[in-house]
């Protein structure tokens, strides 16, 4: 039985883990870098150990130091959170060797999930559909042509050494493919000195829909429904919701069965996520497994009523799942907004610095997981996620309006945030109608809409803000012009 967990992470996810442990009477060990001595996870844990400098490589990624801290603190388990060491199979392996309960899949399973090619072929073997295309690298243009004609154009040629848009070409016929093959090869060689091409069906207006996987050490597996995470920027999720507006019960069950197969195919244990692309025609294609607790897990907690961290601990303790698939019922609707420290108008550039004041939203069916407190600092060393704001409703409309009210209540002074963008999105007809896709922001010009909304807001608030300015100015004028006796008109003393 796990009695003391070291949390090899920081920020809101460390707090999330601490909260459940606290409730269960399990001791928690926080670790912190030079940058984090004043962070919330240090304050909330049963114990806190300093592990190094601000740069992640010198602290949160420092495997030896973390292992040393596990051993010296007497922790019997480690929770990796997400990011940092969470999907590092070397580290998982080290923990296994040292008899430390790593709360997550086995190192072996993690390895398999991490190797995209190997994982894909495991899925094909298990008859879990992946994006149509070459099973691996294509050896020449003729093979590429054959595959393209098998899966139908348009297809995407992609050098696995490319990245950032380089070494990728979408082609719509044989002629374009022949040309494209050469271009991609030469682009990739000129950029990184080598080329290895795969062919994949090009899908338009896709949705990102993922499933919560859950499998115990005895091989009992369930899925805990889907999450739609189509609203993204630069391939990073911004807003997630469950249920997906395009997943009905039949689809949920059907794809859910594939998810169970997928978890078996890689011998996955504990909680994980199977990510799918959903084409506009309704087909689901497996993309990859995230071998850890996901940022957006709270929306699944809300509709399932489960505490996922408790579930992780129970599975890590070797307990069999306390439910079967049929026992799991989805209840209501949940939305999560990732509150990032970033400037929407500067191409989502990170915005960091001190936060002198913050107001955290609350209320029925509102949950805000955050490390923010008045006087804290958003560090440039770590990722920009400051808070996960989650709301639940009996209907989608209820969860949406609750989220809007909560976003309005959320105030973070000192850094730019994604809050205004989310208000614009949640108020848009496209969002209300569930017309989602991974290019949602561009497709519907959300950033321009945001600019308009901000202008409208200024106009709405103009009288009030002028009133505030008048009082400030008049009081100040009064302070200069009059002697102290006549300034007693002003009840309030200003320093």
């Amino acid at each position: 039985m796990i009695e003391k967990v070291l949390i090899a992470n920081r920020g809101e996810i460390a707090l999330r883990v601490i909260r459940t442990c606290k409730r269960l009477g399990i001791k928690t060990v926080a670790v912190y870098s030079d940058e984090d001595y004043d962070s919330m996870h240090v304050k909330q844990a049963s114990e806190a150990y300093h592990i190094g400098e601000a740069a992640p490589a010198k602290s949160y990624l420092n495997q030896e130091k973390i292992l040393e801290t596990i051993l010296s603190s007497g922790a019997d388990a480690i929770h990796p959170g997400y990011g940092f060491l969470s999907e590092n199979s070397d580290f998982a392996n080290t923990c296994e060797k040292n008899n430390i309960n790593f709360i997550g899949p086995s190192a072996k399973s993690m390895d398999l999930c991490g190797d995209k090619m190997q994982c894909k072929s495991a899925m094909l073997k298990a008859k879990v559909p992946t994006v149509p295309g070459s099973p691996g690298l294509v050896k020449d243009v003729e093979e590429a042509l054959k595959i393209a004609n098998d899966i139908d154009y348009p297809v995407m040629l992609k050098s696995i050494y490319g990245g950032g848009g380089r070494g990728i070409r979408i082609v719509t016929n044989d002629k374009e493919l022949r040309e494209g093959f050469e271009t991609v090869t030469s682009e990739s060689i000129s950029a990184v000195g080598k080329s290895a091409i795969i062919v994949e069906k090009f899908l338009e207006k896709t949705r990102h829909i993922e499933y919560q996987m859950c499998r115990d050490k005895h091989g009992n597996a369930v899925h805990i429904f889907e999450r739609e995470c189509s609203i993204q920027r630069r391939n990073q999720k911004l807003i997630e919701q469950t249920p997906s507006p395009v997943v009905d019960q039949e689809t949920r069950d059907r794809v859910g069965e594939l998810v169970v197969k997928a978890s078996e195919a890689v011998d996955y244990t504990n909680l994980g996520t199977a990510e799918f692309l959903r084409a506009d025609n309704g087909e689901f294609y497996f993309i990859e497994i995230n071998a850890r607790l996901q940022v957006e897990h709270p929306i699944s907690e809300m509709v399932s009523g489960l505490d996922f961290v408790k579930l992780q601990l129970d599975i890590a303790n070797g307990e069999p799942l306390p439910f079967k698939q049929k026992d799991l019922k989805m209840k209501g609707y949940a939305i999560e907004c990732r509150i990032n420290a970033e400037d929407t108008f500067l191409d989502f550039a990170p915005s960091t610095g001190p936060v002198p004041d913050v107001t955290i939203p609350a209320g029925p069916s509102v949950r805000c997981d955050t490390y923010l407190y008045p006087g804290c600092t958003v560090s440039p060393f770590y990722d920009s996620l400051m808070a996960k704001l989650v709301t639940w409703g009996q209907t989608f409309e209820e969860s949406r309006t609750r989220m809007l009210a909560a976003l309005n209540d959320f105030y973070i002074q000192g850094v730019e945030t994604s809050i205004p963008l989310y208000k614009t999105i949640l108020n848009s007809d496209e969002y209300k109608n569930g017309d989602l896709s991974t290019d949602f922001l561009k497709r519907y010009g959300m950033i321009d809409k945001l600019a308009e909304d901000l202008k409208k807001e200024k106009v709405e608030k103009s009288e009030a803000v002028i009133a505030a300015a008048i009082v400030h100015s008049e009081y100040f004028k009064n302070r200069i012009q009059n002697d102290s006796s006549s300034s007693s008109n002003w009840k309030y003393k200003l320093d």
């Binding site: 004041d357 107001t359 807001e457 608030k461 103009s462 009288e463 803000v465 008048i470 302070r479 309030y492």
Partner: protein, 170 residues
């Protein structure tokens, strides 16, 4: 006083028209009068009810011409034409004639942000002697006459009260 909000074309002429007592005021913005009740106020912000509607404003950094206000969680920058420096100057005796007083005195309580002169410096009437911060605003204090700075009575980051001597100028 005149106010401008960037992105909004019209400008706002605003003032307090009447003090009704009990923290109730009538203010006028352009041609319309409004009731304003101050609930709470300090240099960091104000809470008030404007025509039956509550608002909360935070005063962030302010200069004499630009105000940075967060109203009901919405950040807005306002430009204003205040002439506060001149008013301070006038009241410190600078605008008067034949004022022979030795001490340049502070007309406002505030914190000394910077001192622009050293003892022994010659100054001309109107030269900036120091900058004070008061109510999150920075205001220049200017010499009230020509002369030599005989002694400086303040220190940077120190607080001064209204009427405190800033410097002796002979």
């Amino acid at each position: 006083m005149d106010y401008k909000i960037p992105d909004i074309k019209k400008s706002f002429d605003g003032k307090i028209v009447k003090n009704l007592g009990n923290n109730d005021y009538i203010i006028k913005i352009n041609d319309n009068e409004h009731n304003l009740k101050i609930i709470r106020m300090n240099s960091g912000g104000i809470e008030f009810i404007l025509d039956q509607k509550y608002h909360k404003a935070k005063y962030l950094e302010q200069s004499t011409n630009e105000m940075n206000i967060v109203i009901d969680n919405v950040p807005i920058i306002i430009n204003r034409h205040s002439h506060f420096d001149e008013v301070v100057y006038k009241h410190s005796g600078g605008a008067g004639t034949g004022n022979a007083q030795l001490s340049l005195k502070s007309q406002i309580p505030g914190k000394v942000v910077s001192i622009s002169v050293a003892e022994g410096d010659s100054v001309r009437k109107g030269d900036v002697v120091c900058t004070l911060e008061s109510m999150k605003m920075q205001v220049s204090v200017k010499a009230h006459k020509d002369g030599v700075v005989k002694s400086i009575k303040i220190k940077e980051t120190a607080s001064v009260a209204k009427g405190d001597p800033i410097a002796d100028i002979e």
